[in-house]
Every structure is written in C-alpha cells, then in structure tokens.
C-alpha cells in the first residue's frame, strides 16, 4: 500500500497535538505528515505566552517533541507560509513556491488578533499580543517607556488584556486597561464579579477605564496620545490591542471553502469541511457546526477527532466545556456553566464580600435544585467541586455551597460520571477505579488516569477521594515511625534530639530498619556538622555512607574525588592515575564531570584516600544522598559565546553546598550562555547565564523520568542567586519525603511552582532568614569526611574486610582482566550451611 500524505497548515499547540496524536494512532505508518508553520518557532505554549516575560527564553515555551526529530515520517517546515490551496489538484502552495500534494489537508491556522479600526492603530508603538515576536517588540517598547516614565495602555479588558497588563507590570510599566464594556472580563464574569475583580487588580497597580471606547491614537513628540470616548487623553509609551481574536480563515476563503457565520472553516462534527471531504479544520480556525472555540481544550479535542478519522476511526467532536479557572495577576477567577444566567427562569444566589475581595455566584434552576453555572472571583477554591455539579441536583442549599462557613459538599457528593479533571476528561468513577485497583497516592493516580496532570486544579478533589475511599494516606515512614520524613525533621529541630535511640524511644517503636535509620542519619547530618561516622550515627548509615564510597555488585567500592565544577589540576589528575594504576582500579568518567575509580576493597579505601587527600583532594560524596556535582560549561573565560563565568559560579556553588545531606541526591549545573552546554535544566538546580544576570531553574532531573527544571527567577545577580538557592535547598531538605527528588517534591507541593516562588523569592512564609541561617551553619561546619576518617584511628579501624584478619583481603573478590575492561566476577554459592542451595 502506498503511503498517503497529510499536509498540516499551521504549527500551533493544536497542530502539534494533531501530529502527535496521528503518529501514535497510525501504527501502520500509512501517513506521512508535512507541517507548514508560519512562525519561525516550532509549536510553543501560547497559553503560557506571558511566562516568556522575565526569562525571555523561547526554548522555555517550546512544546515537548515539537521538532519530531526522531520521526522520519514528519516533515516540519517552520517559517513557511502557505499561500494557496488547489482543491482540484489537491495541492498546497507555499510562499517559497513549493507545491505540496496532499491526500488530506488539515487547516490549523489558528486566529489573528482583532484590532479595532481606530485611527492611529498602526502607529509605531502599537502592538498585538499573540506571538513570541509580538512580546519581543513589546519588551523593547516597554523598556523605552519605563526609561521615559511613560505608562502602557492595553485596549481590551478580557482575559488576554489582563495578561498583557500583567506583562507590562512585570516590565516595570504602569498598565492602563481600557474596556468598552462596563466591567473587566465581560465574557466570564457579571457586574458584581467585575466590581470585585476591578478592585483586586487596581490594588495590584493597574489603572482601569471601563465603559469607554478608544477614539483615536496620535503620535506626540515623546509619546502616543490616546483619546478615549469620554474625551480624556492618556499618554503612553506603547499600546497593546487585545480586543479579541478572529479565526484565521484567509487561506480557506481563497480556496472557496464554506465559512461559518462568524468566520472560520465550517465543518461537521467530524471536523471535516462541509465543502471538501479531503479538508479538515482543527483548533481556533475551525467553525465546528458553526461555532469557533478560542480555548485550547476544545482545540485538542478537534485534533484528536481528525487524527482518529484519518486512521479510519469514527470519533466526533464531543462539544466543549467552556468553563475556565485561572489566576490572573494572582487573582482567582472562575466561570462555569451558564455563568450569565441565560436559562429561562434561572435564579442567582450571590455572596459578595467586598471587604475580603471575594465574589461568588451560583446560577440554579427555577426550583433552586439544579446547578446551572457560576462565577467565582477572588477565591475559586470551590470550583473543583462545583463545576462537575453543573446540570445535576444540588446536594444542599445553594447558599451554603459558597458560604465561607457553609458545609461544603465535597467531591464525595458527585455521581461517578461527573468529570473531576476537566483538562483530561477524567471522571470521578475513573479515579475511584484507579484507587480500588491499588493507586494510593496522588502520584499513582496521576500516572494511571492522567487526572491532575495539566492545571492541577482538581488535586484537592483527588485528595478528598483518596481520603474518602478509605485509603489511608499514610505518611508513615516505615513500621517504626508514623511520622513522615518532614515531620521527623521538625521534631529533630524542635527537640534538639541528636540520637536515633532517643528519637525512636520517644516518637517511634521497635529498633528501626534500613528505611528509617538512613533517613534519621540524613536529618541529623542536615541539622548539624557531626562526622557521619560519629559512633552515635555510624550504625544508621547505609554501607555507602559507612565506607564513604559506592558499593558495587561484588561488594567492592568505587571512589570519586570531588572536582568542583569539573576542574582538576594536572598534578591531581596524575595522582588519580597513579592511584588507579597502583591499586588496579577500573577508571571511568562520570556524567558529572569527574573520575570514578572502581574495584577498591574496604581495606584499600583509607590507603587510596590518604594519597588523594595528600594531593589536595577531598570526598566527592558520590556515595551520599547529598550534593553530587555542579556541572559546568567552560563559560565566558574561554568560550567565545559565553556571557558569564559559569565555571567560577559552578566552583563557588559546589564549594558552598558540598557535603550537604538531603532527602535524595542533588545535582546542579551552570551554563555560561543560552546554548546550555552544561545541561543545567536537567538538574535539581540549574543556572543559566544571560546578559542580564543568572536565570535560576529548579526541580529538573534526568534518570528514569526525566524532567526539565522550571524557571524560578530570572536576571539575578550573584548574591541573590546564592540566596535563592540557599532558601530553595533548605526548604526542600526540610519538607521533602524520603528519597523524593526535587521534581516529584514540587509536583506534590501544594500550590506548585507559584508557591515555591512565593516562598523563595517573596518570603511568603517568613522563613527565608531561618533557611539562610541553616545553610550558613552548614557552610561554616563543613569538613572533608575522608580527612576526618584518616585522622581518627577509631574510624580507620572499621575499614577491614574481616574483623579478625585486618590484613586479609576478602578472597571472594575477583576480577576478570581479560576483556576490553576490568570487570568483577561474582562467585558461585559457597557450599555451606542450610538453605544455600549450592
């Protein structure tokens, strides 16, 4: 069978989703895909466009897998505009003159921003808010406006307008918002909600002008003069239009395809054009049965429908839930169902608290029994339980559902087919099913059902379901401690208990185990600077910490000296080489820019370390749940592209945090420019140089489930960078679970990245001084653990294979040197003792 071609016009979020969905479903590889993207960037997170402000890093917004690099059947052409469709010949022509044949054509051209025909709308300094390029232009103009002390004007006070206003605020420019309707966000909220919202955003520094239009824009000598319909004139350095979007249907119009009443490619419920069976439309440019949807979730539905149809499926557009819940400028706004009470006979129940800045409205049926919709401003915490109740009988008096003291219905009151996670369409029944099949925490539910993986708004509901299903959300560390690691950390801090035996006697039961002992050892190490082999702690350490080396499969150990930032002197490298040669060690470079020496027996470790310490080296803590390495690229000192001294910063960070014990291993990276050669975004702490200072990324990791680190703060000077890392690390060390790396810790952290930013950057919990002091104590108390062993005969005496034969090497340790590299040889079972089954 010959392969068919599908041409996709547009490469936004929905187009990307379509390509991914098709490639997953098309198991026979019967389609080859050509994607034409007009923008220079491949698909990026346009919904998160505002997060581009600050870091100014395009890669940050790129959607995962958007280059299809590993897929030969996808041909992505960015910066390529389609200019014509020949429906008879079934070809698409590009601006560059290429003619591409198709068997099916998928239009995913999205929308364009609507700019009202105000005189002067095209003057320099006027922008729209749609693409990364738009934001780059806004940034430059805003910086000039800031320098000149000028304000910025946003025309349109809807969702996007408030996003644009926030961007201006972040750029240091006072935003004025001009909205023709008598309230902000008229599509989502009513007058009462609008009043509360207006007040909340005014408190944040926005100046709002509602109920007025824009008459004209004129260029003054220094600034733009914007005349409003009430005659007032505003001066501004820039103007941003965000007065809505229109479907981008120019290409379809030119091809003679039938359009919807308000534009957009008219399609049936299968997203197929009503006038050409070879043409589909998805996303914002599609008028599915006449309706265009400007949200990404229905767009994704259309992408899935078409992908399914192309492989012979029968999917249909299921309709869309236009409910929204968002945080704009830190203000909660939610709107769901029939928010504007358009149903005949609908009743409204309103609770407005101007003092607290909250507004809540429920729309109910004329008998006050069925929930039809609602609006929440200032506090949208009830959204998770209210939205799935739309169209269903209310579990109680509507007023109590939104009253701050009322009995909340909880997710338990919902029927099984109610959608708890609307982003991924997961019902309460599906979540309960996962729980009954053994999922017993949020992470497992996320991975079995994908509920809660997008906006996270339903996580409180999932927690409730877990609690109600009888699943004990046990935080118990093990059978000996009912407490979680974080709680034990608090107990140790508050009580000053410094021994495991006292801790387990007072707060636990039994004698401990291989789970709780290393946890307590780590907590003790994080809170004081005692040597980890101090007699009171030695029995708690697992074998790696006990022998300050990494155990390998045959019971020998590997040795890793610290090389801060990957730096090493020739003399040290020579000593490492000599040690490896003299002790017959296998040498391998680690991923963290240092050298690993394998195959040392316990009694050899002190002799090896004597020579390394004498040469000025120290423990690399490769064996510990602790800081491993700070990887760096060579940075501005040598590299012609580097913009900052990444090696210098990496060395400084490694020397600061070396020896720091944590719930799991910690890795860091520092890159000297945006090329990111140190792969810092794959680390728990990633630092990337920009011309404006350091960007700090947190909570990434490689390994089994790789995660990119996320931007915590941008444009930092050295001092602020170190202060933020101090706070971040200590906050993690205090609150994470056992063996929980930073990425899952952040996933589980209530409030997520936003909350972390508040704690680290804004000191929202008031603990920043305390966290910094704890880190200062660590830095001051740091001593090299191996030097500490070498100077203590008591500790040295532990480094023997046999207590009764200290000089005797373990005869079961053997190696095979015959191959290309030295490898350990495991022994067969000794033929002794019962049950060994030789």
């Amino acid at each position: 069978m010959s392969r068919k071609n599908v041409v996709v016009v547009g490469h936004g979020m929905v187009a990307h989703r379509f390509v991914e969905a098709l490639r997953v479903r098309d198991e026979q590889n019967s389609w080859s895909v050509t994607v034409l993207g007009e923008e220079a960037d491949a698909a990026y997170d346009r919904v998160g466009l505002s997060s581009y402000v600050g870091a100014w890093d395009r890669k940050e917004l790129a959607l995962a897998g958007n280059d299809y690099a590993a897929d030969d059947l996808v041909d992505l052409r960015v910066g390529t505009r389609a200019v014509g469709i020949d429906r008879a010949a079934r070809t698409v022509t590009t601006a560059g003159g290429d003619v591409l044949p198709y068997d099916s054509l998928v239009l995913a051209t999205g929308s364009y921003p609507f700019v009202p025909p105000v005189p002067g709308h095209d003057l320099p300094g006027c922008f729209v808010y749609r693409t990364l390029d738009d934001l780059d232009g806004i940034r430059a103009a805003a910086e000039r406006a800031k320098a000149a002390g000028l304000a910025g004007i946003v025309i349109g006070g809807g969702l996007l307008g408030l996003e644009a206003a926030n961007a201006l605020r972040l750029l240091g420019v006072t935003p004025h918002v001009v909205e023709y309707n008598n309230r902000l966000m008229p599509a989502q909220v009513d007058e009462g909600g609008g009043r509360v919202l207006d007040r909340l955003v005014t408190d944040l520094g926005l100046v709002t002008h509602t109920g007025v239009g824009t008459e004209k824009i004129e260029a003054g000598s220094e600034a733009l003069q914007v005349t409003l319909s009430d005659g007032s004139v505003l001066e501004a350095g820039l103007v941003i239009f965000s007065a809505g979007i229109r479907p981008q249907d120019e290409l379809a119009r030119g091809a003679g395809l039938e359009l919807g009443g308000r534009g957009g490619v008219l399609t049936d419920r299968t997203c197929r054009s009503t006038s050409d069976e070879a043409v589909y439309a998805i996303g914002e440019c599609a008028a599915v049965e006449g309706t265009c949807y400007g949200l990404v979730a229905p767009g994704y539905s259309t992408a899935e429908v078409v992908a399914d149809r192309l492989v012979g499926g029968t999917a249909e557009f299921p309709g869309a839930d236009l409910s929204t819940k968002l945080k704009l400028l830190g203000v909660d706004v939610a709107s769901f169902g029939d928010a504007h009470a358009t149903t005949p006979g609908a009743l409204e129940v309103v609770l407005s608290d101007s003092a607290k800045g909250t507004y809540a409205k429920l729309v109910v049926s004329d008998d006050a029994k069925t929930l039809l919709g609602g609006i929440l401003v200032g506090d949208a915490s009830a959204y998770g339980t209210l939205r799935p109740l739309v169209g269903r009988e209310l579990p109680g008096d509507p007023a109590t559902l939104i009253s701050p003291v009322g009995e909340k219905p909880g997710v338990g009151a919902l029927p099984d087919d109610a959608e708890v996670c609307s982003c991924n369409g997961v019902t309460k029944g599906a979540i309960c099913g996962a729980i009954s099949e053994g999922a017993c925490d949020i992470a497992q539910i996320k991975s079995c059902t994908s509920a809660g993986t997008t906006c996270g708004g339903c996580l409180p509901s999932i927690k409730q379901l877990l609690a109600q299903s009888g699943v004990q959300m046990s935080k118990a560390l093990c059978e000996h401690f009912e407490q979680s690691r974080a709680e034990l950390f608090e107990i140790v801090q508050a009580t000053g208990i410094r021994t495991f035996s006292a801790l387990i006697a007072q707060y636990g039961t039994g004698h401990g185990c291989d789970i709780c002992k290393p946890v307590v050892a780590s907590i003790l190490a994080s809170t004081d600077s005692d040597h980890i082999l101090h007699p009171k702690q030695a029995g708690l350490q697992d074998t790696n910490d006990h022998f300050l080396a990494n155990i390998q499969k045959n019971g020998t150990y590997s040795v890793v000296p610290r090389m801060p930032g990957g730096e090493c002197t020739p003399e040290q490298l020579i000593v490492i080489g000599e040690v490896a040669r003299d002790f017959g060690l296998y040498v391998k470079m680690t991923g963290g820019q240092r050298v690993d020496l394998f195959g040392a027996r316990v009694e050899q470790l002190p002799q090896i370390w004597k020579r390394l310490v004498d040469a000025g080296m120290e423990s690399g803590q490769a064996y510990g749940k602790s800081l491993r390495t700070v990887k760096s690229c060579v940075g501005s000192t040598w590299c012609r592209y580097g913009v900052q001294d990444s090696v210098g910063m990496a060395v400084a960070l490694e020397l600061r945090y070396r020896g720091l014990r944590s719930p799991h291993k910690l890795k860091m990276g520092v890159s000297g420019c945006a090329r990111e050669c140190a792969e810092a975004r794959g680390k728990d702490v990633g630092v990337i140089a920009t011309e404006n200072g350091w960007n700090l990324y947190v909570c990434g990791n490689g390994g089994q489930s790789p995660k990119h680190a996320q931007l915590l703060a941008g444009g930092l000077d050295d001092e602020t960078l170190v202060r933020y890392i101090d706070r971040f690390l200590m906050f993690y060390i205090r609150t994470a679970d056992r063996l929980q790396r930073t990425a899952p810790w952040l996933d589980a952290l209530e409030g997520g990245l936003e909350h972390l930013k508040e704690v680290v950057c804004d000191d929202a919990l008031g603990i920043a001084d305390d966290l910094e002091a704890a880190m200062a104590k660590h830095v001051e108390g740091y001593k090299d653990e191996w030097a500490g062993v070498l100077e203590d005969p008591e500790k040295l005496a532990r480094f023997v294979s046999f207590v009764n034969a200290p000089e005797q090497p373990d005869p079961t340790v053997r190696f095979d040197d015959s191959g290309p590299r030295k490898v350990p040889v495991l022994v067969g079972m000794p033929g002794i003792g019962p049950g060994t089954g030789a």
Partner: protein, 144 residues
C-alpha cells in the same frame, strides 16, 4: 591460610585456637562491636560470617554471603527489626533477612546459615557449621 587471633587471654595466646582442631573462631573483643552494626569474620576453612551486636546487647551471626547479590556483604547491611524480629537488610538489593533464623523475609525460599555465637572471656567467638573433614580446599568453600 592465616587467621589472626586478635587478642590474648590471661596473658598468653591460646595456641589451641590455631591448631585447626577447635570449632570456635575468635572474632574480636565484645567491646569492639558497635550496637546495630555488623562486622565480617573469616572462619577457618573459609566460611564468612556476618556478626552483629544488637541494641539489647545480644549477638547474632549469619552467613556473610548474600545469596541474591552473590557477594560477601551481609555484615555491611543495616540492622533493624520487623515486627520485633531482628533483621539485616542486604546492602546490595535490600532483601531483608531474619537474624534469628536466617530466613529471607522477602522470599521465604532463601535462607542464610545461622551460626552459634558465644562470649568467652570478653571475646566473641563463632562456631563453624561445616565439620572440619568436609571443608573444601578453597577459601570460599566453592572449591575453585
């Protein structure tokens, strides 16, 4: 092979320990052991034993050879308890074994040999399991 007696009793080394006829091997003075921590002991004939002092002051000895990881490492495991039964966890793949009877609590088909321990004049001694006349030549007892 050489097994070194690390202590003396009554001022004179007990020659009889060296002659290969006694079934008890001296490990170390009791005071050398850290509660909750193991040491490895090499018995005459090549058996390796993991010796532990528990928090309650009692001693346990099991085979040092980890049947899952196939390396002599059990003495380096973390000591604890499960439901009150004293245990040690393999430092390689973390299987937990009873220190009372040597059985693996995670896989009942596997068992570590258990050794008799005594304290003789302040010195911990371990009794061999393999009778002298059945010992193999090689130090590991695998006859390699």
């Amino acid at each position: 092979m050489t097994v070194i007696e690390t202590h003396t009793v009554g001022g004179s080394t007990r020659d009889s320990v060296f002659d290969g006829r006694l079934e008890w091997t001296s490990a170390c003075p009791l005071s050398h052991l850290i509660p909750g921590r193991g040491v490895a002991v090499l018995l005459r004939g090549g058996e390796q034993v993991a010796l532990f002092l528990l928090d309650d002051g009692t001693l346990r000895a099991v085979g040092n050879f980890d049947p899952f990881g196939r390396a002599a490492v059990m003495s380096r495991g973390i000591v604890g308890d499960r439901g009150g039964e004293p245990t040690v966890a393999s430092p390689l793949l973390k299987q937990v074994f009873s220190l009372d009877d040597g059985r693996c609590l995670d896989d009942p088909s596997v068992r570590l040999p258990v050794y008799e321990v005594r304290v003789w004049a302040g010195v911990v001694q371990i009794h061999s399991l393999v009778p002298r006349d059945q010992r193999h030549e090689g130090p590991t007892g695998e006859g390699s």
